[in-house]
């Protein structure tokens, strides 16, 4: 097919015409994320999912920690809190407990949530706190230039692991399930519709829900490991991900060149922290 007379035929429009503009702080766009970074794709899925749930916009609050993903809070046109490194979950805990009408989402990165914030993550899961945690895992600390993190695969290079990383990485679904989470899913940023569906499914639920998004970081992780562009990584996910709902999370380790097991690992119900407050304690006090 011959090329038509270039761009003249494609409508060029202003940012505020974008269908997601109402849920974004368009005055802060373009965002700081690099070309080919998957963070924006995950965010479009989140916005779509939120719209599909029909949850009123002013009843959703987003809390982030620090890092590239931590900037999500600043781009969403919702009540949003950009806290300190690793502390999104405890901040969100107070927020959610004080205001039960809110759906509180913690949206942050792997280093933030399972390294410096790891203690908060496991304890919040244990309590089955009413939080949806969206953990973007790009295997590195992107914002600070690609240091090794808690999910960096064995042998992957990082600016603080020039000989390759040799500490065993966390497998986030396994960690979440072992700690007591009630909904656990993993998708790559190429699985947009499935990711969106998971988010839509998890948003209205109660309890501690974790969705991990495997996401390209072309600038830091890919460059150090010669993995190519964001697009190359998307192709890599295409070739190397397997969908296996209900998979044993122990099989979900991620190696440098191995398979990425995706799917919904767990979807159960058990009493939440708030259930205990409102039912058990209330009964005890009422019975006095």
């Amino acid at each position: 097919m011959t090329k038509p007379a270039a761009h003249l035929e494609t409508a060029i429009v202003e940012q505020d015409t974008h269908p997601m503009a109402d849920l974004l702080r368009m005055d802060r766009m373009p965002h700081i994320w690099c070309s080919g970074c998957g963070l924006g794709t995950g965010l479009t899925c989140f916005i779509m999912a939120l719209k599909e749930t029909g949850i009123p916009e002013d009843k959703v609050a987003v809390v982030s920690g620090i890092g590239c993903t931590g900037r999500v809070a600043g781009y969403l046109n919702l009540d949003s809190f950009h806290t300190t490194h690793g502390r999104g979950i405890p901040f969100a805990t107070g927020l959610a407990l004080a205001n039960p009408d809110l759906r509180v989402v913690v949206y942050s990165g792997d280093g933030d949530l399972v390294a410096i914030g790891g203690n908060h993550f496991i304890h919040s899961a244990r309590r089955n706190m009413d939080l949806l945690v969206i953990c973007v895992n790009n295997f590195t600390y992107g914002m600070t230039g690609g240091q090794a993190g808690p999910t960096t695969p064995i042998s992957a290079k990082a600016s603080t692991a020039p000989y390759g990383s040799y500490d065993y990485p966390f497998n986030i679904p396994y960690l979440a399930i072992a700690s007591g989470a009630t909904y656990v899913a993993r998708w790559t940023s190429l699985h947009m519709r499935r990711l969106k569906n998971s988010m839509r499914e998890a948003l209205p639920k109660k309890g501690f829900r974790v969705i991990e998004i495997i996401c390209p970081c072309p600038t830091a992780f890919a460059r150090k490991n010669r993995l190519g562009s964001g697009l190359d990584l998307m192709k890599h996910y295409h070739d190397n991900s397997i969908i296996k709902h209900g998979a044993d999370p122990r099989e979900a380790d991620i190696d440098m060149n191995g398979k990425v097991v995706c799917g919904t690992f767990l979807d159960i119900e058990r009493p939440t922290f708030r259930d205990f407050q409102t039912e058990n304690i209330a009964t005890q006090l009422g019975g006095e």
């Binding site: 503009a21 924006g40 965010l43 699985h191």
Partner: protein, 105 residues
């Protein structure tokens, strides 16, 4: 998914048709949309935007089925499709190409 035979109602199927809008200055030229559009509607243009990236153009806009995939995959909120009509067709059902499956692994 590939149909192994023509669906029975193929001659009355409605084919959605979309129009593409590009927020030119927001694009970072990652080509996710170009690569994963199931109908091969898009290409990166030769033009630069102010940030020095090549935003996409709809070179085969008539083929756009308004599936919304470009909007969903674009990390920069720089492209979207609008459903303009659902035309009837007597042709064969628009098949999902390999690329659709690729994007929806």
């Amino acid at each position: 998914m590939k149909y192994w035979r023509k669906p029975l109602d193929a001659d009355t199927i409605k084919v959605p048709h979309g129009k593409i809008y590009v927020v030119r200055e927001q694009c970072k030229g990652c080509s996710f949309c170009v690569e994963y559009c199931p109908k091969d509607v898009l290409e990166l243009s030769q033009e630069f935007n102010k940030k020095g990236y090549h935003p996409p153009i709809a070179v085969r806009e008539e083929d756009c089925v308004s599936c919304g995939l470009c909007e969903l995959i674009c990390p920069d909120f720089a492209i979207y499709a609008e459903l303009i009509e659902e035309g009837e067709t007597t042709e064969e059902t628009p098949k999902k190409t390999d690329k659709t499956e690729k994007a929806e692994v």
